[in-house]
């Protein structure tokens, strides 16, 4: 491993320079974007624009608000509130204030009913949210056939949502799993060809875990056909004791471990793996969901192992694009911290961006129409829209309604003393064109 580390470091440096270049570009492009600071009150005429309804625009959101996954909803809700406060303090959308209504996705039996309720009884004109991929797929017929309102998914990551058929009303602003897993395979080829030979997997025992491994291993087999791929390990959600699996992986002789464990599971597994010396034998560990600040906080600075390359990815990383060149991300991180005391996890960035996508789409549609847009006008405006989010500009591809933005993988480093958690460093950034499959295509079966 060590002989090539110099060249690898060069490569990473080069990638870093590329990142900086890209980021400078973004920074220049978005320096003119309106500054989003919560405290700032701007007098905007609330009357005067013709065709704007008097009553507030109601936006509904639905996430896991309680139970083990409750952190997702709590963070998403905080970010949505932040966006709404910013927008309302600046006069709302074309003078129309936003009002929120919400439901708990943890109310498993009533996800569809609750979405209908928000729209039909509580007057939500747009809905954002959904953590569970299963729920996202279940919601398709309800939204497309019955409710027929713009529905922006901000978290659920199954490719099937956007890539198996073109939806009319459903959009997804968040990164889905496929580009992250494809990039992981490309990164292994670029950085570790000739250094790793046996590949293992540990992922959650449901569709997401299976799909992630299928995509990663499928792509890696294509790129490096000589590798040995072990039987993948899948663990039940919220497993508390990973000892068995850790020793199994250790006994298998794997030197590259891929994982799609997420949240508390990713942290618990990692800590136990460190304590059980898994990284004495595994030389490269890649976790597609490690780039989540809440997970990293749970891992802690003391659990960063040496002698192993730990890579993490995710759907947003709070230090990218870099704050010095992209003030929007800096402001978002600071405001989110002020509101919650935490560094924003990805679900915060994507839900925040969804609200701004709605604003921008309505404003765009209004320009074309001259009055408050109808549902179809908003949908058309969302197609092909580029909205600046904390993760950089997000382009909503019209063909599949999927949000496209930079994909990253970064190397785990101690974050102390600056950060209370480990951080991802040596970021390697691939632009969407390099890793997103063509619209309406996917490696998982539809």
């Amino acid at each position: 491993m060590t002989e090539v580390s110099e060249s690898r470091r060069d490569w990473v440096k080069l990638a870093g320079a590329g990142v900086a270049g890209l980021a400078v570009g973004y920074g220049l492009g978005f320096l003119t974007a309106p500054e989003r600071v919560v405290e700032k009150e701007v007098e905007v005429p609330t009357e005067g624009l013709p065709g704007i309804p008097d009553e507030p625009l109601k936006i509904g959101y639905i996430y896991f608000m309680t139970g083990t996954l409750g952190t997702y909803g709590t963070n998403a809700a905080a970010a949505i509130e932040l966006a709404v406060e910013e927008i309302n303090n600046n006069g709302g959308i074309l003078g129309r204030k936003i009002e929120l209504t919400s439901k708990d996705e943890a109310d498993r039996e009533r996800v569809l009913d609750n979405i209908s309720k928000m729209v039909q009884d509580e007057g939500a004109e747009i809905v954002v949210g959904l953590d569970s991929s299963g729920d996202a797929l279940k919601v398709i017929p309800l939204v497309e056939e019955e409710l027929q309102i713009p529905f922006i998914v901000t978290h659920a990551a199954t490719p099937k949502l956007t890539e198996c058929a073109k939806r009319k009303y459903i959009f997804r602003i968040s990164m889905y799993e496929e580009p992250i897993d494809i990039m992981a395979a490309q990164l292994v080829k670029e950085l570790y060809e000739g250094e790793v030979s046996v590949v293992a997997n540990i992922g959650p025992d449901y569709a997401y875990g299976y799909d992630s491994w299928a995509i990663f291993s499928g792509k890696l087999k294509e790129l490096m056909p000589d590798l040995e791929f072990l039987e993948p390990i899948y663990t039940p959600l919220f497993t508390t004791d990973y000892g068995t699996y850790i020793d199994q992986i250790k006994g298998s002789g794997a030197d590259l471990l891929f994982s799609s464990l997420w949240g508390g599971d990713a942290a618990t597994f990692f800590k136990q793996a460190v304590a059980k010396g898994l990284f004495d034998s595994v030389k490269v560990y890649m976790n597609a969901m490690l780039g989540a600040t809440d997970t990293l906080e749970a891992i802690g600075n003391d659990n960063v192992p040496t002698g192993v390359d730990v890579w993490g990815s995710g759907r947003y990383w709070f230090l990218y694009p870099p704050h010095d060149v992209y003030p929007l991300n800096k402001a978002f991180v600071e405001n989110f911290r002020r509101k919650t005391g935490s560094y924003p996890p990805y679900v915060a960035a994507t839900s925040y961006t969804a609200i701004y996508a709605v604003k921008k789409a309505i404003e765009t549609a209004y320009v074309m129409k001259g009055s408050w847009p109808e549902v179809d006008d908003i949908v058309s405006a969302l197609e092909g829209l580029t909205v600046p989010g904390p993760m950089g500009p997000v382009y909503i591809r019209p063909e599949d309604h999927q949000g496209l933005y930079d994909v990253f993988w970064g190397r785990l480093k101690k974050g102390s003393p600056t950060y209370p958690m480990p951080i991802l460093d040596d970021l390697v950034i691939y632009p969407p064109g390099k890793v997103f499959p063509e619209p309406l295509t996917t490696m998982v079966s539809c």
Binding site: T66, G67, T68, L69, G70, T71, T74, N75, I233, Y234, P236, L237, F238, T240, D241, G243, T244, Y245, D247, Q248, K250, G251, G263, G264, D265, A267, T268, K271, Q272, V274, A275, K276, G277, D280, S281, D294, T295, E297, A298, I299, G300, N301, D302, N303, G341, S342
Partner: protein, 295 residues
């Protein structure tokens, strides 16, 4: 499988069984004595985890000494809350339909989840590192904390055995579990013993959470996931039997670990297959019959 791997896997199973026993013994105890299925037992376990985290990490800083104090704090805080729950919330429902008790303990899950959120926030809470070093077994390692957990579980088992067979209180508690009416006629203060029993069961949940938290990631709602397997344990072992909880934990722990290695698809399913088979042939569980006969 090489012998070292077999040894560490055997130990993994023992460790997992220990955690299960710590959780399920309190659950089983409360049911055995009071005939209350405390659905909020997992929430009490969660509270124990948070109290230990607070005392050992936020207040004192990690050391074996602070861990010990944190365990004690968890037991006391959660047992104290147990007394409050029993005296104030459950007692008025003793002569009402049993559904109401279930409903109450179910409601407590959400209330305690929200209390945890209010005090500690919704984010994950975790120890900075699993305490202690690791013992090498060939190429493998067993963290010393895993071993400590097994000893704590054995210690708790022995303590409960001593308490119920050797102390007057323990004997009185057993008496009321066989016949509440006879016991009160004989002059046993059943009120006080009910509170004591609930406090003991809750304290065990608190200790279980405290012992588990350095290895895991605490978050609101973690109790719900912990409790499901514990129900399997006490159904297999026999509801109300501490020995049953012990044997049930071993069965569930070993079947899970060895299925994960040999036949992963059935890792969790087998536990419920065992449970179903036992329910078919011995509806009171492996060690539950004795109590029913004597009642």
């Amino acid at each position: 499988m090489d012998i070292n791997l077999f040894i560490v896997q055997f130990f993994n199973a023992l460790f997992f069984a220990s955690i299960l026993f710590l959780i399920s013994s309190g659950l089983s105890l409360i049911y055995g004595i009071m005939k209350i299925l405390n659905l909020a037992h997992g929430a009490l376990y969660m509270l124990g985890a948070y109290v230990t985290f607070t005392v050992a990490i936020l207040w004192l800083g990690m050391s074996w000494y602070s861990m010990l104090l944190a365990y004690l704090a968890s037991i006391l805080v959660v047992a104290g809350l147990g007394i409050f729950i029993e005296r104030v919330l459950l007692k008025p429902l003793y002569n009402k339909p049993q559904d109401l008790q279930l409903l109450l303990t179910f409601a407590l899950i959400f209330i305690l989840d929200d209390i945890v959120k209010m005090i500690w926030g919704a984010q994950y809470r975790a120890f900075p590192k699993i305490p202690g070093w690791s013992i090498p077994v060939g190429d493998y390692q067993i963290p010393i904390y895993f071993i400590l957990t097994v000893f704590i579980a054995i210690g708790v088992g022995l303590f409960l055995h001593w308490f119920f067979t050797r102390t007057t209180y323990g004997k009185m508690v057993r008496a009321i579990s066989y016949s509440l009416e006879t016991s009160s006629i004989l002059g046993i203060n059943t009120d006080r013993l009910f509170a004591l029993s609930f406090a003991l069961g809750a304290g065990l949940a608190g200790l279980a959470g405290g012992v588990a938290v350095p290895l895991y990631t605490a978050s609101p709602g973690m109790g719900g996931d912990a409790i499901v397997l514990s129900f399997a344990v006490i159904v297999i072992g026999g509801m109300g039997s501490i020995l049953g909880a012990f044997v049930g934990s071993l069965i569930v722990g070993f079947s899970r670990v060895f299925m994960a290695i040999l036949f992963p698809v059935f890792e969790i399913a087998l536990i419920y297959v065992i449970m179903a088979v036992i329910l078919m042939f011995r509806p009171t569980g492996l060690f539950g019959m004795e109590m029913r006969e004597r009642r």
